[in-house]
């Protein structure tokens, strides 16, 4: 694994490592405590960090810890292949790692959250999901203070359901401070013993108001109502919050904040191909902020050449980015392309309590969970 890790880190104008806006996390072996939200403060803008997505690069090897086959048995996961009932393969949509290290997989086809040991042995399931056009449909899941919470969506609008006694409770619509429904792209775990978790908001959901409303990471309070309030990012430990924004085709921006300072890290992405000689091609990237723990943020970056001819010649790829705030190494390495289209899967990365990161891949015969 380590030998195949390719960290193509080019910092223009400087060779500084990312500095630490807060105290070091001590190697990232513990979960962050609940962090006070820093107030707005002047920002320090760093020199641009350039990451090269090299399509000649082989995927890094992660350690496979579990493989769960597709099939009709309870211990197996569901899959629906196109074209009759769907235009894209319906595969397990998301997963999370419980505080005890066990795996919970959002098994859409079987309308359940399936529970497995960290090695892939089936333990049971939580039912009650609705997979039809009349009800909110599950999108993501996370543990909040030991409680499984499922993010549902209906016409882009988010709602949350908490597990109670082996079943999921009723949907609670998510609102912002003004009481308007909002969309949520990801759900993140809570800090230890904190009843409220985090999510990535996508603004108001009515089609004529897309683009307005709260965008970005925030804290969610789930009670009889579910309310969302923007935060400066996700807490990664050491009092540091990490946020992402300013998405462009080949760039984005990471912002780390503490109570006293904000550090803005512009990131530029470039795509390199090999024939007839190594050169860069115009490309399109999207960055998915899927987890934050142990002093770092974890991203799945998907990229494709912008030009059809380049895409046909070279294909595209996916990369794993670990962006540290504590002085630990930045990691940028290629992930394998899915053997079947997996657009339906919205989460590929999750972390456990210790900050270890896991990758879920939908393969042709089952789902594999890898640990880095």
């Amino acid at each position: 694994m380590a030998g195949l890790v390719s960290v193509l880190l080019l910092v223009s104008c400087t060779s500084r490592e990312p500095s630490t806006p807060g105290p070091p996390s001590g190697g990232g072996s513990s979960r962050p405590p609940a962090s006070p939200v820093p107030s707005a403060s002047p920002a320090t803008v760093r020199p641009t960090l350039v990451l090269t997505a090299d399509l000649r690069q082989r995927p890094a090897r992660w350690r496979r810890i579990a493989f769960i086959r597709y099939g009709p048995a309870a211990a197996q996961l569901g899959i629906e292949l196109p074209p009759v009932h769907t235009s894209v393969p319906i595969v397990p949509r998301s997963f999370t790692v419980a505080p005890d290290g066990s795996l919970w997989i959002l098994d859409t086809v079987k309308a359940r959250v399936a529970h497995f040991t960290s090695g892939g042995t089936y333990l049971g399931a939580v039912g009650g999901l609705m997979i039809d056009r009349l009800h909110p449909r599950p999108r993501d899941l996370a543990f909040w203070d030991g409680r499984l919470v499922v993010l549902d969506e209906f016409d882009l609008a988010a709602s949350l359901r908490a597990a109670r006694g082996g079943r999921l409770g009723p949907d609670v619509a998510l609102e912002d401070a003004t009481g308007r429904p909002i969309g949520l792209l990801y759900l993140y775990p809570s800090a230890p013993s904190a009843p409220s978790g985090f999510g990535l908001a996508d603004g108001y959901t009515t089609l004529d108001r897309l683009g307005s409303g709260p965008h970005g990471t925030g804290r969610i309070h789930l009670g009889s109502r579910a309310t969302f309030r923007l935060t400066p990012g996700l807490p990664v430990g050491g009092g540091v919050w990490l946020d992402v924004g300013a998405y462009r085709s080949q760039s984005f921006r990471v912002v780390s904040a503490t109570g006293s300072e904000r550090i803005v890290q512009p990131v530029r992405l470039r795509m390199r191909v090999g024939r007839p000689h190594p050169h860069d091609v115009p490309a399109i990237f999207s960055e998915h902020y899927e987890a934050a723990a142990a002093g770092a943020g974890f991203f799945l970056v998907q990229g494709s050449p912008a030009r059809t001819a380049d895409a046909d010649a070279y294909g595209g790829g996916r990369w794993f980015l670990r962006y540290p705030t504590d002085g630990s190494p930045l990691v940028w390495e290629r992930l394998p392309n899915p053997p079947l289209p997996d657009e339906f899967q919205i989460r590929h990365l999750a972390t456990d309590r210790a900050g270890d990161v896991f990758f879920m891949a939908s393969l042709r015969t089952g789902v594999a969970i890898y640990e880095r």
Binding site: E80, P82, P83, V84, H85, T86, S87, V88, I90, T108, I131, D132, R133, L134, R137, D155, L156, G183, L185, Y186, L200, A201, D202, G203, L207, L210, G211, S212, H215, G216, Y247, S249, F252, P282, I284, F285, S286, E287, H288, Y289, Q302, G303, S304, P305, A306, R307, T308, A309, A311, G315, G316, G317, P341, E343
Partner: protein, 225 residues
């Protein structure tokens, strides 16, 4: 004997009654889809989006192309049986007002209640050839695309709903997705997925028509947030 004749008669009446009341070949689409169609001379993107918006919240049916506007599933739990909704390529076909004859140029409006799919599959859009009424844009940058263009793979196609960029990047895509979700607007990553190409219908009329300013022959796009 009299009883036997009476029994046969009653059985026959019941049998015919059942057949007449509920023919075995009846489907939702055969019972409801009787909309019309007519040739038109032009299509604006904003009109195409308004047309697509009617299908949002309706169903999905592989090979289908008929839906109403009640924002509900009229054929729940009955997939692949002549139910409500388009499939992905049929949805684009009707929204782009393509002709039913393969490769024919021009525009034809179809009622949402007309059950028509058209001659194009997702693969047809992905592998667009020059004689077809749509073409590969050759680039997937945001400068190259605009709303109501499409992203097509060999298996699926969806249209860009808005030029607004979602929180995490990607695009708002209107698409006929699957039986469970139906036709809807989703946040999708097709732009950054090398399996997808950007496809544009040919011969759009500018959104400013018919009151475009002087020099209005230059195509102009009105961006709707």
């Amino acid at each position: 004997m009299t009883h036997r004749v009476a029994a046969i008669g009653i059985f026959g009446i019941l049998l015919l009654g059942v057949v007449w009341v509920r023919p075995g070949f009846a489907t939702w689409s055969s019972a409801h889809c009787h909309g019309g169609t007519h040739l038109v001379s032009a299509l604006r993107r904003l009109d195409a989006r308004a047309y697509a918006s009617v299908a949002v919240h309706e169903g999905y049916e592989w090979g289908g192309g008929c839906w109403n506007n009640d924002n509900r599933d009229d054929t729940p739990d009955a997939p692949d049986s002549g139910g409500e909704g388009p499939d992905c390529s049929g949805f684009v076909f009707k929204t782009w007002e393509l002709r039913t004859t393969y490769a024919q140029a021009g525009f034809r409006w179809y009622s949402d209640l007309m059950d028509v799919h058209g001659p194009y599959s997702a693969e047809s859009f992905h592998d667009a050839t020059p004689q077809l009424p749509f073409h590969d844009l050759g680039s997937k940058t945001r400068y190259a695309t605009t709303y109501m263009d499409a992203f097509a793979s060999l298996d699926h196609i969806g249209m860009i709903w808005s030029n607004v960029i979602p929180s995490q990047g990607g695009d708002y895509i209107v698409e006929a997705y699957n039986d469970a979700g139906g036709t809807q607007v989703n946040v999708e990553d097709y732009r950054a997925d090398s399996a997808y190409r950007a496809v544009r219908r040919k011969d759009w009329t500018p959104d400013c028509a018919p009151r475009c300013p002087a020099g209005g022959l230059v195509p102009r796009t009105v961006v709707v947030a």
